[in-house]
Amino acid sequence: MEIINWSSILESLLFAAGDEGLSLKQMAEVLEVDELKVSEIIEDLRQEYEQANRGIMIVQLAGTYQLATKKENAAYLKKLVDSPHTSALSQAALETLAIIAYKQPITRAEIEEIRGVKTERPLHTLVSKVLIREVGRAEGTGRAYLYGTTKEFLDYFGLKSLKELPQLPEKVEEEFIQEEADLFFEKFQETINS
């Protein structure tokens, strides 16, 4: 029986694919095995990389597997490039993006309703960075554009899929507090009136 060094082959594939990444399906096609087998091979390779003396790891981004440098080495990598500053998103852009991520597809008017301010400029920035895109038109007058997040959005925030977004704060507790507040408010009013 021929012995095939699967994890070696896979390592080469992932290296060559770079930041485009490879999906399970693509790897299965190249290796001519099923996706379950591919996951096993990836798991083997991942464990190998996890050893402390390695500088590379396997990450899952936007539905693909990629090789990336280990986070703890970031400080050294930054020394390689000239400008230390990273062009992070502005607060306005982040807020807008958060609303779109959780409520997509959504129109500009609906976003502005939540934020309470005009949102044209952050939207423009986000579209030009390809973190969001127009995904359709809303029903009704004006047929406003609907916005949604892109594959680049997932990659930018290191997410496998939209399911990985952190949970929004729950509302369950709020109702309880609301009642308490109402009670307090009533008592307060009575005290004042008496």
């Binding site: 694919a17 992070a88 807020e95 958060a98 959780y102 939540i114 925030f157 704060p169 609301q178």
Partner: protein, 256 residues
């Protein structure tokens, strides 16, 4: 002597209100409207004095607060507290709508905060562009296909390119401003493509890591597409984009 004062910039009236609620340690469900309105107006006034542009949204909120304040001052009807109908005691609080908006906004403000940490976390990992495997590719000329690249694909390719060029930036650079017109770059690209007599990878059209050169080249490519001088092709989603000169009628370029 002039000196600079750094003040907190607020994203909008809701953001300012949340800030005041936090600072005054107020329960968001029981906002003392009189107090918060006063504080809010002081802020607006200060912004005016500092000659900051006060967006109209801030003024609308000021008006809303005043309306709520006056509604709260109206006496409640006595019969509301009658024993037979306890439900009636929960009369509509004029603050309800505002509280709801504040809570909704706060939810996404927190989510934005989470995204920020994710952004920082992701920034610690570096990946490399795909290796050039084109040598292995068979010399088959791809069949002519429909133009199937959207503006979003072009923008995505552009962003990816900027990201890659950033890491290739040399440690020290000498700056020599060299202006290149879009028109000139269009001609260069056409010459390059015609000499090649085949298709060229989109990324290879950007030889210099200088931002203005990249931008000019990108605009030149878009213009060439518009004038039907080049064909752009992408065989699969997120795959590489290839550019090719259109055989006939290429003379159009440069005549405008």
């Amino acid at each position: 002597m002039p000196y600079q004062v750094k003040i907190d910039a607020f994203e909008g009236p809701l953001d300012l209100l949340l800030h005041l609620i936090n600072r005054l340690e107020i329960d968001i469900y029981d906002i003392p409207v009189a107090e918060i309105t006063e504080q809010y107006l002081i802020y607006i006034k200060t912004m005016n004095e500092l000659q900051l542009d006060v967006a109209s949204e801030f003024l609308v909120m000021a008006a809303t607060l005043l309306v709520i304040k006056s509604k709260m001052l109206l006496p409640k009807h006595e019969e509301v507290f009658s024993d037979d109908d306890p439900e009636m005691t929960f009369e509509d609080d004029p603050r309800d709508e505002l509280v709801e908006r504040l809570i909704e906004y706060r939810k996404y403000k927190e989510a934005a905060h989470d995204l920020k940490s994710l952004e920082e976390e992701r920034g610690l990992m570096y990946t490399k562009p795909p290796s050039d495997l084109s040598d292995f590719a068979k010399e088959k000329q791809p069949e002519k296909t429909e133009l199937n690249v959207s503006l979003y694909d072009m923008l995505a390719a552009f962003q990816k390119l900027l990201r890659r060029k950033k890491l290739q930036r040399p440690m020290a650079t000498k700056i020599a401003r060299q202006e290149i017109s879009i028109e000139k770059r269009m001609t260069e690209i056409m010459v390059e493509l015609k000499l090649l007599k085949g298709r060229k990878n989109f990324n290879e059209l950007f030889p210099y890591p200088a931002k203005d050169h990249i931008v000019v080249t990108f605009l030149a490519i878009l213009e060439l597409i518009k004038r039907n001088a080049i064909d752009v092709e992408q065989s699969e989603n997120f795959g590489d984009i290839f550019v090719e000169a259109v055989k006939e009628g290429a003379e159009v370029v440069g005549n405008y």
